[in-house]
């Protein structure tokens, strides 16, 4: 149906299903970028994405060196011991140069910017995580249905990473 909002984005609902550093940064930059433009943003952490808001694990997020052709590291080499931590150190150094915060500081920045942070109930149950294991400023634990219900309204976009 035609409406007069001209396709304006009002709200970004971003689902993060992975905890590899490059995906985490992608989700965080997209959420923060939305807020900077006056667009509402919510993040839903599911499956391995939950590690991003797991108090202990979020300090040890890595890039993946296997199965990513754009890394230009042969799969056999990428699997060698130490390769992941080497690539992670390199990426963190580059991020720092760009004035990018580390994942924990970034989470705090998102929270202060008004981004809602939700953990997926099913994934919490699957990994046997409790609320106490998670980043303190999490807004709550939702079922997928509850997450969809928050997406009501024109101009809402859902993005899966």
């Amino acid at each position: 149906m035609y409406n007069d909002t001209n396709g304006e984005i009002k709200k970004m609902m971003i689902i993060l299903s992975k905890a590899t550093l490059e995906n985490v940064y992608a989700a965080f930059v997209l959420a923060n970028g939305a807020r900077m433009e006056g667009i509402e943003a919510e993040l839903f952490f599911t499956f391995f994405g939950l590690d991003t808001v797991h108090k202990r694990k979020l300090k040890h997020l890595h890039v993946a060196t296997v199965g990513n052709p754009a890394m230009h590291i042969p799969t056999m080499v990428g699997g060698l011991p130490g390769m992941e931590s080497f690539a992670t150190t390199m990426m963190k150094r580059e991020m720092k140069k760009l004035d990018m915060p580390d994942p924990f500081e970034f989470l705090c920045l998102l929270k202060d910017s008004g981004v809602k942070l939700w953990a997926c109930k099913l994934a919490m149950d699957m990994f046997h995580y409790t609320k106490e294991d998670m980043f303190e400023d999490l807004d709550g634990i939702l079922t997928v249905g509850e997450f969809y219900n928050r997406a009501h309204g024109e101009g809402t976009h859902i993005l899966f990473i």
Binding site: V29, N32, G33, R35, M36, E37, G38, L98, D99, M100, P101, L109, D112, S113, G114
Partner: protein, 102 residues
Amino acid sequence: MKKDIGTSTIEVNEEGFMTDFSQWNKDIGEELAKEASIHLSPRHWQIIDYIQHEYRKEVPLSIRKIGKSGVVDIKEFYELFPKAPLKTATKIAGVPKPASCI
């Protein structure tokens, strides 16, 4: 392009950002704030001063930098300049829109 604002005329780009900082003065700042439906309090002015100070030093601005400035934290920045704070605050301050993704 030229834009009449209050009793002055300023040069702006297509997004309404001033292109000549030397044309800026406090009255213009007040008028630009009015257009953004913001009433400038002393807190707002502290932030605008900070933004202009950084601009003069040619330091690129970002939300993160504002949060670490010691002038205002990110939460209050969003409260003082609702919606898109960095864009709104820089527009009122008469400096170019920051090209930062963060």
